[in-house]
Symmetry: D2
């Protein structure tokens, strides 16, 4: 069982996550969200393939949208009915792909 | 330059496309749309990888959304400001992946 | 720690695996091997993406080769210095992708 | 029809290609070859997905091998029975993915 983060926990974890990011993740509709832009579709989909593998490994899958060079990722934890450490863990690994 | 299909052309092409599909493509907001469901994320993302290659080959990229085993594809032709033969061509190739 | 299968265990597991396959897996150089052919590169790489996700989930990665529509997969368990149940587990999941 | 590069053309193109690379491409068995290493499988397969899209776009597909974080790419032009500008074009695009 995974516990839902409180508003305070979310803000603290968000600050820590974004300290290492060029552009910030945001909270929207109880989801941890970020939009990524790449040079072209080939790079965007390569990124998505890496994220897919991270997600499958963590058994925690994003809601995501892509068109051409743009990828929008939304993370939430359904069983916790909100945002949990699992969302921040995956976001941290996603960011590491870009460094 | 790619011409936008008229309403009649769309309905005719849609009927032809759907004749070969188990579940139908639909027109929504001037886009050719379909939702696909798979057994799990691994199969859904394998399908997406094949679609990505078809799209790159055709230089015509979908707007698409995925969560776990569900993939939603929307096709439109920006330069034609509507639906064109390019959308139906790609949809036909996408369907062929599932046959 | 994963135990290496004995020659008898390998033959038994191989028979069980191949009972469900159109074309057989084989043992070569202490690896569980099979070559797959697809209609084109798009389908071959879609298959590879699904296999990549299965492999990452199992934390057990294939040695594999691709050219165009052909995929050659070799499975072995380095820590067991031979073939183990992990290779047969992954092969079974790979076959399930094609059914 | 694509012409096979002469030995001189290959050496010239190879020098130009490698001027921009951290580690060099090499000629082996009339193929343009390089081995790539990544932090883990997730990154290696993300790279492969991008390369797959470049290859499909160019309709020129690599012979490649992967195990975990290692990717070996071999490029040759079958219709030219040797190395051609198509191999150097794809290698240049592959290198651009890493910059």
């Amino acid at each position: 069982m995974v516990d839902k983060y409180s508003e305070n926990q979310i803000q603290e974890a968000l600050q820590e996550l974004n300290a290492a990011c060029e552009s910030p993740w945001q909270i929207r509709d109880a989801k941890l969200c970020k939009q990524f832009k790449f040079a072209n579709f080939s790079r965007a989909f390569g990124f998505m393939s890496s994220v897919a593998l991270l997600a499958e490994r963590a058994d925690h899958h994003p809601e995501w949208f892509n068109v051409y060079n743009r990828v929008e990722i939304e993370l939430t934890t359904h069983e916790a009915d909100g945002i949990s450490h699992r969302d921040f863990d995956l976001a941290t690994k996603i960011e590491a792909l870009l460094s």
